[in-house]
């Protein structure tokens, strides 16, 4: 009952000073709106990175050669020849957390079809590759295990290669192309995937049996990577551990610090990238929080002025029976009403600008519910925190001193 009355009193004071209240709120409004918008941008970019990386196959596990940290001279990963088909076979046979695996050898070269040529990459893999990378075919079919065995000169090509070496719109299936002067029959065209997170064109690729690439193009017997997929995303960490152990036995390594390979899951890659964007989010939120703080100081300032201005009114209220606690609550409620209303308007403005950013600037955004809840709570706390001192001061006034105040 009494509290309701105090709410009415505080509400009336706010309504009587609409313009000033609005200006006071402005700091809070901008503060909250920017916290929400910044978090939405941060979350949005994190999600888009995650989606992007996941679209490359979220349970992919890669095994690469790596220089043991104890060895003196470090070679670059490309030059290292420590990964072999034997390793691949061991992993394939022993690992229980993997569903598919393929050796991977890569090379660069020129794709030629008649007078058209185009510099591209060739990936030597086995038929599992499509399942690991989650790529479909636009047309044609994948090569078979027996074609791998016989090192057949067959290839699948990505859309970028199609566009550049078959510019007349002819069906590439069954056509002959040359890669570094080795003739290949095109047996399939990969589905369009676009750019990945790192800006690489995933359609600028030629895929062929790894045996063919090893023997006929690169003339090597080692492999550059083993690519595999874990049974599920959740099993990826187990798969990483398991594969590492198999590899250590293969390479007779006694201690993880001496590993001459690295096993990485896509999940780890995602968290690496997420953490950079998290840093950025944190920074943005810090900046936004400062503006919220400034908004809070604005409230304190206006509450001070308000208490000063209304000293006589406070005296009168006390003269007709208001207790110190009533005066304290009145001003506290006023401060909280200002900050919470400001917070609500700030949430609206924040959501509005998020929509604007998404629509007109084309940035990915994602509004997190927690950011709304938190900024709202922060507002209420700001109101209490910055309203407390002036309210306290008002409540401690002596009735007669307050009444006499000019």
């Amino acid at each position: 009952m009494r509290l309701l009355n105090l709410f009415k009193i505080a509400f009336k004071a706010i309504v009587l000073n609409k313009m000033r209240t609005l200006l006071t709120m402005l700091g809070i409004i901008i503060g909250v709106a920017s916290v929400i918008a910044m978090l939405a941008i941060g979350e949005g970019s994190k999600e888009s990175i995650r989606e992007n990386i996941s679209s490359m196959g979220s349970n992919i596990i890669t095994i690469r050669p790596a220089s043991a940290s104890s060895s003196g001279v470090r070679a670059s990963a490309d030059e290292m020849q420590t990964l072999t088909l034997k390793d691949y076979e061991a992993v394939k046979e022993q690992a229980t957390f993997l569903s598919y695996a393929t050796p991977l050898v890569t090379g660069k070269g020129q794709v030629i079809n008649g007078s058209n040529n185009w510099p591209s990459n060739i990936y030597g893999v086995n038929p599992d590759y499509l399942k690991i990378k989650v790529v479909d075919l636009q047309s044609g079919s994948m090569f078979t295990d027996s074609e791998v065995k016989t090192a057949s000169k067959v290839a699948l090509i990505g859309q970028t290669v199609v566009d550049n070496v078959f510019p007349d719109g002819q069906d590439p299936i069954g056509q002959m192309i040359r890669f570094n002067n080795i003739p290949f029959t095109v047996i399939g065209v990969l589905e369009v995937k676009g750019e990945n997170t790192f800006g690489q064109d995933q359609d600028d690729v030629v895929i062929a049996p790894y045996t063919t690439v090893q023997k006929r193009i690169l003339a090597i017997d080692y492999i550059s990577q083993i690519m595999a997929s874990a049974i599920s995303e959740d099993d990826a960490p187990n798969a990483v551990t398991e594969v590492s152990e198999i590899m250590r036995i293969q390479h007779q390594i006694s201690h993880p610090s001496k590993d001459d390979f690295s096993v990485q899951s896509m999940e780890e890659l995602i968290s690496t990238f997420s953490s950079t964007s998290e840093m950025l989010t944190l920074l943005l939120v810090a900046v936004a929080s400062i503006s919220l703080l400034i908004g809070g100081i604005g409230i304190m300032n206006i509450m001070y002025v308000s208490v000063k201005e209304r000293t006589k009114e406070i005296g009168l209220r006390m003269a007709v029976g208001a207790k110190g606690a009533d005066i304290l609550m009145q001003f506290l409620i006023e401060a909280i009403l200002i900050s919470v209303t400001g917070g609500a308007l700030g949430v609206l403005l924040g959501l509005g600008s998020t929509v604007f950013i998404e629509k007109f600037l084309n940035w990915p955004t994602s509004v997190a519910l927690y950011s709304i809840v938190i900024s709202f709570l922060v507002c209420a706390v700001t109101g209490i925190f910055f309203g407390w001192y002036p309210a306290r001061k008002a409540s401690a006034l002596d009735p007669i001193t307050a009444l006499r105040y000019e």
Binding site: R317, M318, V320, G321, K323, L403
Partner: protein
């Protein structure tokens, strides 16, 4: 033998300003009985307001005893004092002290807002009744800036009545008003007194004192006179005798 509403005994109030001590009240004693209409007179600076503020529990004496309606004020906490002000006292100021931009009825309701025993409907009802008593039943929604000085003081009187106090305390309540309006206000006080309300009315105007039934005169913080008025004038009659205004 009616009971004493106010009992004060050897009341002193000193103000210390730096090294100087102002002795505003130098040991005052008197009783005010239920139903009395007392005017407190004296020249400016004689200590009238200081005394009334203490009677109204707005200020505390430096020493001495004060009892209102059987309650000893000395031992009360700030909150208990607030409750006394809320429930037992109606205070009327020279400068009205109404809340600006706030309607007459809301101004009158103010004391009841701080009394949790009074419901919203009850509050409104009592405020309207109080305003009707002072002849402003038609001006409930007017704000102070839409009212004359006399009307504003009537709102203030209504505000002081709304909590059914045992005592009205008025500090130069007619000080800002012309004679005619002052008499109108005095006739309201007389009417209220006839209904049984005890009144202490501070003034420095001799003619105002003739409307009361007792006068206490202060000088330099001491009571120099305290007498019953046997020839009480009616404010209404005096008002009729005043030369008519031109409208």
């Amino acid at each position: 033998m009616s009971k004493a509403i106010i009992k004060i005994e050897d009341l002193k109030r000193e103000f210390t300003m730096g090294s100087e001590t102002v002795r505003a009240l130098k040991g005052i004693s008197f009783d005010i009985k239920e139903g009395e209409f007392v005017t407190i007179m004296g020249s400016s600076g004689s200590g009238k307001s200081t005394m009334l503020n203490i009677l109204g529990c707005l200020d505390q004496p430096t020493s001495g005893n004060y009892e209102i309606d059987g309650v000893k004020i000395k031992d009360l906490t700030k909150n208990q004092l607030a409750t006394i002000r809320n429930e037992k006292i109606g205070f009327i100021f020279q400068s009205y002290n109404l809340l600006a931009r706030t309607s007459a009825i809301e101004n009158v309701e103010l004391p009841l807002l701080y009394n949790s025993k009074v419901s919203t409907e009850e509050r409104r009802k009592r405020a309207i009744e109080a305003l009707q008593k002072v002849g402003l039943g038609e001006r409930l929604d007017h704000t102070p800036s839409q009212l004359s000085g006399g009307q504003q003081q009537r709102v203030a009187i209504a505000r002081s009545l709304v909590n059914n106090p045992v005592m009205l305390l008025a500090d130069e309540a007619t000080g800002n008003l012309d004679t005619r309006t002052a008499y109108e206000i005095m006739s309201i006080f007389q009417e209220l007194n006839e209904q049984g309300i005890t009144i202490a009315f501070v003034t420095h105007e001799q003619d105002i004192a003739t409307f009361s039934n007792r006068t206490i005169v202060l000088k330099d913080g001491n009571i120099i006179q305290d007498y019953k008025n046997h020839n009480i004038q009616s404010a209404e009659e005096q008002l009729a005798k005043l030369p008519k205004e031109n409208h």
